[in-house]
Symmetry: C2
Subunit: 244 residues, 2 copies
């Protein structure tokens, strides 16, 4: 499995992804699931992928090859005029790659399925965050639903629902994402460190901060053990239950 979160705040879009891939429980590898496309000052686009690794790598490679040969005629996410058009290209590419290996056409349970989070900004446009389905269609984040999760989404969802604030600073938002990832990692073997993150600042149209949280990262360890203690404290401070 995988866990990726894309989160819009008033200041920008945060992306975080784990790096574990597994086929069963005994074939575990580390793969990057976050990819960037940038024309500095003009556009910055980030993709995160969950699902069949062969599918997602093929999609990213196709998108990258198109970018590298500008004379080629196929659609190119580094030239598309809007984030909506970028999402359409990525969705179409994803749909085609799945269809290629999936003789029967796309179904929700296909082995070759994958889901993609796409976010970023193109100059003169708004910053956008999309969740792209295996069928190639997609939905966009909004004020009401400002974050998307893909992969192993359930364990880390309650804290996001409860602690997210649109006015968060980037630092607070990273902290929130780390807590959400920590809850997931604690409960599920198929999600693991290192974690990749990207912090896109609205209006910059350049990459901004990109980093990786390694397993031995002291801040992550502090969050992980601190959150366990904090949860137990919060729990014990709740009013006691009494039988009537």
């Amino acid at each position: 499995m995988t866990y990726c979160v894309g989160m819009q705040t008033e200041r920008g879009i945060l992306f975080m992804s784990d790096t574990r891939t597994n086929s069963g429980v005994d074939n575990i590898s580390t793969f990057r699931k976050m990819f960037h496309f940038e024309v500095p000052g003009e556009r910055c686009i980030t993709l995160m992928t969950a699902g069949n690794l062969a599918t997602t790598q093929a999609v990213i490679s196709i998108l990258q090859e198109r970018g590298k040969s500008p004379e080629e005629r196929s659609p190119d996410i580094e030239r598309a005029p809007s984030m909506f058009q970028v999402a359409r290209i990525v969705g179409q590419t994803l749909r085609e790659v799945i269809a290629e290996h999936d003789g029967e056409g796309q179904t929700a349970s296909s082995t070759f399925n994958a889901t993609i989070l796409l976010g970023g900004q193109i100059k003169d446009g708004e910053p956008r965050l999309y969740l792209i389905y295996p069928e190639g269609n997609f939905i966009e984040a909004s004020d009401d639903t400002p974050f998307f999760q893909i992969g192993e989404t359930k364990y880390g969802r309650p804290i996001l629902i409860r602690a997210y604030e649109p006015s968060m600073s980037f630092e607070e938002a990273v902290k929130l994402l780390l807590v959400s990832f920590d809850s997931t990692i604690k409960a599920n073997l198929s999600v693991a460190l290192p974690l990749d993150y990207h912090i896109y600042e609205n209006g910059s149209c350049t990459k901004g901060r990109i980093g990786r949280v390694e397993p031995e990262d002291p801040y992550f360890q502090e969050i992980s053990s601190g959150w366990g203690v904090a949860l137990r404290d919060a729990f014990s401070n709740l009013p006691p239950f009494t039988f009537d």
Copy 2:
């Protein structure tokens, strides 16, 4: 969906189940998912069910009818000599009911599947807690894995992992279960109040406390809003993240 938890502590076994059943999102009903079999002072057995409602109701009805006609020869969980034998009977009944409607035999994805949590004690035996699979086989809780969840298990798991203590009082354990249920209910439409609970005290071999938490229950509302505040406080008290 459904959410049920069975939890062993040093003092006894706690059972909690929600009451929502749904077929799609527009066919929602309230059904009890917790059932008791008792011979006071001799045995107390509790079952909680998740999965296809027709299957689980049939299983419970078969078990109850057998109980009501003692002259009948079929195995009877009110006469079985041990909790292990009770689990075998329940597992076998579950398997038979599924097989009856499922021409092709049991598979993990069968529409008619169901899962059962079974716990209790028979005089002179230890208190036991089992998780019974649709195939009729089962696993038993232990010191290392003292609780089982069935149904929509993921949202409510992190707090159980982090705050469970074998030495908890019944009051603390009920509080923990309510927090776990609250996290699940907040995140998932298919789990809802009222919640049924049963608190079995080790060695009693009688039902003990049985109750229902209604949606307007003031303590549950206090826990639900208090937990949101407590989580946000715990989160803001974690050390701040800083970019290098």
